[in-house]
């Protein structure tokens, strides 16, 4: 889940001298770091948007390909770029076929380790509930769950923060209903 940012000045003046702690290396400073830190969350994000694990992994990799060889170096917002690009890749997969003789879809191919992923009953329950949300609400929920603020989501989706917030609020209300959580306390 998203962690709230540390508040400036929290805790008051320091009473003792602490060793200087150098900031951790930027995980996006190299491509490997970007891949390591983002591949999992990006896959989960796409699953929140409705992709199967298999489709999500394929689209996520395609998004990473789009950043090679050098694009990733110049991305101002690599996390958001990967999510918007991967989602477009997912939409392009067009996996449905109504009839066996329909035109061949551009399916993600080969085997993918994520085919081995088996969702728990609770994970399936949440996934099903998310799929019942209208798109805008599901989208807002997926971005928020991925740790983006309303302002960031609005910036990358071309919406106002108020719209994002409203979609998120409605999504929560719907989820409470769908999941039958009304009147239940936190476990």
């Amino acid at each position: 889940m998203t962690e709230l940012p540390a508040r400036a000045g929290h805790g008051g003046p320091q009473r003792e001298r602490r060793p200087v702690v150098l900031p951790q290396a930027d995980p996006f400073a190299d491509f490997d770091g970007l891949y390591r830190s983002q591949m999992g969350p990006l896959t989960v994000f796409l699953m929140r948007m409705g992709a199967s694990a298999y489709e999500a992994a394929d689209a996520a990799h395609e998004a990473f390909v789009s950043t090679l060889p050098d694009t990733w170096r110049s991305l101002a917002y690599p996390k958001a770029y990967l999510r918007t690009t991967a989602y477009r890749c997912y939409l392009r997969q067009a996996t449905s076929m109504d009839r066996p003789t329909d035109p061949v879809p551009d399916r993600p191919g080969g085997t993918c380790p994520l085919q081995l992923l088996e969702l728990t009953a609770e994970q399936e329950r949440v996934a099903d509930a998310l799929l019942q949300l209208p798109f805008a609400q599901r989208e807002a929920m997926a971005w928020v769950l991925d740790g983006f603020s309303y302002a960031e989501i609005a910036q990358h989706l071309g919406k106002t923060p108020a719209t994002v917030r409203q979609n998120y609020r409605h999504a929560r209300i719907r989820l409470v209903e769908i999941l039958g959580l009304k009147g239940k306390e936190e476990r």
Binding site: G40, H61, P100, L145, K182, E186
Partner: protein
């Protein structure tokens, strides 16, 4: 959740937060555990100029494939007869798909090696053979007066896929491996893998058509 502060009453907000937090964390753990990020990165290749390997391995269709890799060349599109022989042609496609699997697996293994076996099939070699087999099956089905199936229309997309793919791989020196270009290698591996998925789909379509051909009652609208 981030900057939305729900009313902490009995509307289920806290339960929802708890459920979503638990779900997000557990799903991420599950995905990471299965995803093999390090392995994926290794196969993706270094952005610093290494040689990429496809992150996906081409799926084996379970067909019986000749064990010796050199045998792939022995696959020839023989005259396809009616009836059971048509089934044999489909079997041939099975075999070719299996060959593609083997070739892709071998390539995956070899991509880290300096020396690549020059006798191995290129993607285009495999495509060419597969396309021949498919066209042969198409011709045979057409010859069986199965106009009700609108074979021309139905095979068009199949043939277009193969034509486009063959055109792509026919380019000189187009192979999975292009040392120093991780992006190129990875893109090609992904493309070939997707093509293989299409092959499997085509195969299913052919089988469906074949079943219809065997049982005219299935032709009824």
């Amino acid at each position: 959740m981030t900057d939305y502060t729900p009313h902490r009453d009995d509307r289920g907000e806290e339960a929802l937060d708890a459920l979503l937090a638990r779900d997000q964390a557990s799903l991420l753990v599950a995905v990471r555990a299965v995803l093999d990020v390090e392995g994926g990165l290794e196969r993706l290749g270094s952005a610093k100029g290494g040689v990429a390997r496809p992150y996906v391995t081409v799926q084996n269709t379970g067909s019986e494939v000749a064990g010796d890799r050199s045998d792939w060349q022995s696959f020839e599109v023989e005259a396809v007869l009616d009836g059971p022989a048509l089934q044999g042609a489909l079997g041939m496609i099975d075999d070719l798909a299996g060959e593609m699997c083997d070739a892709a697996d071998d390539l995956r293994e070899e991509m880290y090696a300096e020396h690549l076996d020059p006798s191995r099939p290129t993607p285009y070699d495999l495509l060419e053979l597969t396309m021949e087999a498919l066209l042969e099956v198409s011709d045979r089905l057409s010859a069986r007066d199965l106009t009700e199936l609108e074979l021309t229309r139905e095979f068009e997309p199949m043939q277009r896929v193969f034509k486009d793919e063959a055109e792509y791989w026919r380019q000189p020196d187009r192979d999975f491996v292009e040392p120093g270009r991780a992006d190129v290698c990875f893109s090609r591996a992904l493309r070939f893998s997707r093509f293989h998925a299409k092959l499997v789909t085509l195969h299913a379509q052919l089988r469906w058509l074949f079943e219809k051909a065997k049982d005219p009652s299935l032709l009824a609208p």
